[in-house]
């Protein structure tokens, strides 16, 4: 891919002028998985799970990423934290590109400073490790808190932070409720004092009342510790509550990125409009305020995305050019980017 080289050279030029409060800058991130078939495992196609996503995250802020399941938002999160090696693009963390770094070089920096809170509190904790040993392990792996005494103190500090009683230090995951387990998951993400926490559907598996507690906890922790969040969820209301900026993903691409208020009050992209129209609005007189936009058809397969605008197969405002011309992800208003031909002049 010749494009990647070009993007790399662009990237290094722009890094110099990076604003100071930018913690993470994702540029044209691509995560394509090869499709292998047959006995010989020949590569016969590509699943473009993430296909050219760009955004920046400011220190201490929260960016929410919404999209329906299968749109690539989790893959994007896992690429940023380098559980996957991206097939293209750049991930600038504090100005340093971590997209292609080998695991050895990730260890001293990224494995401490970027952490993740996972979706399923039942699956994200090792059932064979007590709370204490699960939290002590990363400290040992990074040679931090050198003595047992110091590690115990740190664990107690973490338990206080996430609202668990200190006496549970020797308990095993099966002895906790779902909400408590998610608190442990958060404590584990905080062990190494990270800067950036990626919450991948972190409250989706919880009861609504517990969801609220966990979100409040995340907000409290952000304030206390100055954390930066990437909050990935399919739940528009939760994202609205916690985010400063919101990105909407569709089929591996960001279709709209904007400050929260603007996005929720006046969505620009037809897909965003359709998503938001699905949130039930309860008014006192029972009247519907918004017209419900029902999308036709299914999410196309990411192994053969439609040509032109990826959304044209389901878009209610489809124009002839949408079938052939890929819309740029361009600034439609100050601080608002959208990938749609309805906004701005076509490029020719």
């Amino acid at each position: 891919m010749s494009e990647i080289g070009l993007i790399h050279s662009l990237g290094t030029e722009e890094t110099a002028g990076r604003p100071r409060d930018t913690l993470l800058e994702v540029k044209n991130l691509q995560m394509h998985f090869p499709v292998k078939t047959g006995v010989l495992q020949r590569v016969t196609g590509q699943v473009k799970a993430v296909d050219g996503v760009s955004f920046t995250v400011k220190k201490g802020k929260t960016i929410g990423i919404v999209g329906e399941s299968g749109c690539g938002k989790s893959t994007m999160g896992r690429s940023i934290i380098r559980l996957y090696e991206p097939t293209g693009g750049e991930i600038l963390y504090n100005g340093k590109d971590i997209a292609g770094l080998p695991e050895k070089q990730l260890h001293p920096l990224i494995r401490r400073e970027i952490q993740m809170v996972f979706q399923d509190p039942n699956a994200s904790l090792n059932p064979r490790k007590s709370l204490g040993s699960a939290l002590a392990e990363p400290m040992k792996a990074h040679n931090l808190y050198g003595s047992r005494q110091k590690r115990v103190e740190r664990i107690e500090e973490l338990l206080d932070l996430v609202g668990l009683h200190r006496s549970v230090i020797n308990n095993y995951p099966h002895e906790f409720s779902g909400g408590q387990r998610q608190r442990i998951g958060i404590a584990r993400a905080l062990v190494l004092n990270p800067e950036l926490v990626i919450a991948d559907e972190a409250v989706s598996a919880l009861d609504v009342s517990v969801q609220a507690q966990i979100i409040n906890l995340l907000e409290d922790l952000q304030e206390k510790l100055g954390l930066t969040y990437i909050f990935i969820s399919h739940d528009l209301s939760v994202v609205r509550h916690i985010s400063d900026r919101v990105g909407v993903m569709y089929l591996g691409k960001l279709v709209e990125l904007s400050d929260k208020e603007a996005l929720y009050e006046e969505p620009l992209h037809p897909y965003t409009q359709a998503l938001l129209s699905a949130i039930p609005v309860i008014k006192k007189d029972g009247a519907e305020v918004r017209e419900r936009i029902v999308l036709k058809g299914d999410l196309p397969s990411p192994s053969s995305p439609p040509p032109g605008c990826i959304f044209h197969t389901r878009c209610p405002y489809k124009m002839p050019m949408c079938e052939t011309v890929v819309p740029d992800f361009r600034e439609a208003a100050p601080g608002r980017q959208v990938a749609c031909h309805l906004y701005g002049e076509p490029p020719f």
């Binding site: 559980l83 990363p138 009683h165 095993y172 906790f176 517990v210």
Partner: protein, 305 residues
């Protein structure tokens, strides 16, 4: 910040939630409790305990010298002098069974220990790292499985003197493939589980993830396959010895005790002679299977009471 702009989400007071179970139970106690619920497994464990005990204390328990021949008493029926009868050379069957248990169990445990070790290492590496390494290792496993192992066994046994050590080695070398596939499967699914991903994002090294995170969670199936494997090896040893290629007389093993009973006249006329070694093999293998089943349930943290 969002905190100042928006009211907090409602819900129950955030901290603290209901207290965690205060009387926390060590994991082994929980497992023991689950194991004890399975009556067959308990019976199997008791039986195994008795058999192993009998094997260990054979010199003290055996009424006679297992290789002492009293030709006048050949094929003596069970009675006062010979509680389980005597064989075609007039040796006491009970004594030979007791000493034979040592051989059968030793071969069973030692070769399974070897094959579990090889299989776990190969399966863990293949399943965790995946890709080309996985493909190469698994094709090697396929190749080992496709060996006509019985003929190879026979050839090997004829080349090397059939001794306990060669038997153990041969069973270990041919027995690990099943474990390797099993362990690979466990690792394939566990390496994508969220707790392993979490360990990776925390910078835990691969070796530690394999041995401290994934392996303990794959231990259940491994132990189950090991217990079943011991039964299998005991059967295999019996088969080889029956063919005269296993443990060589006069050392008694359950298999070679059956060998000398091949003669149909003996089988029909002196039924007690082949019956007791056969029964021992049957009970022991069954006991191992029951114990394996019980352990499977006990090791599964998801199956609650």
């Amino acid at each position: 910040m969002t905190l100042t702009e928006e009211p907090r989400l409602t819900g129950r007071p955030a901290l603290p939630e209901e207290p965690a179970v205060s009387t926390h139970e060590p994991i082994w106690k929980l497992m023991l409790r689950k194991y004890m619920k399975n009556k067959l497994a308990v019976a199997g464990a008791v039986l195994l305990f008795l058999i192993i005990g009998a094997a260990i204390f054979a010199p003290w328990l055996a009424p006679k010298d297992p290789s002492q021949q009293v030709l006048l008493d050949k094929l003596a029926p069970p009675g006062k002098d010979y509680p389980l009868g005597a064989d075609n050379l007039g040796r006491d069957t009970l004594s030979r069974l007791l000493f034979g248990a040592r051989i059968s169990l030793l071969v069973g445990f030692a070769s399974v220990a070897g094959s579990i070790f090889i299989g776990t290492v190969v399966g863990a590496v293949a399943g965790y790292y995946g890709g080309k390494l996985d493909a190469v290792l698994m094709r090697f496993v396929d190749a080992v499985i496709s060996f006509p192992s019985l003929f190879l066994l026979i050839t090997l046994v004829t080349i090397f003197e059939p001794s306990i050590m060669t038997l153990i080695g041969i069973f270990a070398i041919f027995g690990w493939t099943g474990t390797a596939r099993l362990v690979r499967g466990e690792f394939l699914s566990l390496r994508k589980s969220e707790f392993v991903l979490a360990a990776r994002t925390l910078g835990i090294r691969n070796g530690r993830i394999i041995f401290s995170h994934i392996l303990p969670n794959a231990l259940g199936p491994i132990i189950v396959s090991a217990t079943l494997g011991v039964g299998g090896v005991i059967l295999g040893e019996a088969a080889l010895s029956y063919l005269g290629l296993g443990i060589q007389p006069p050392t008694p093993s359950w298999g070679n005790m059956l060998q000398s009973a091949q003669n149909p006249q003996i089988m029909l006329g002196a039924w007690w002679y082949p019956l007791f070694p056969g029964l021992m093999i049957l009970t022991t293998v069954l006991a191992f299977n029951f114990v394996g089943d019980g352990l499977r349930d006990a090791f599964d943290p998801k199956i609650d009471d």
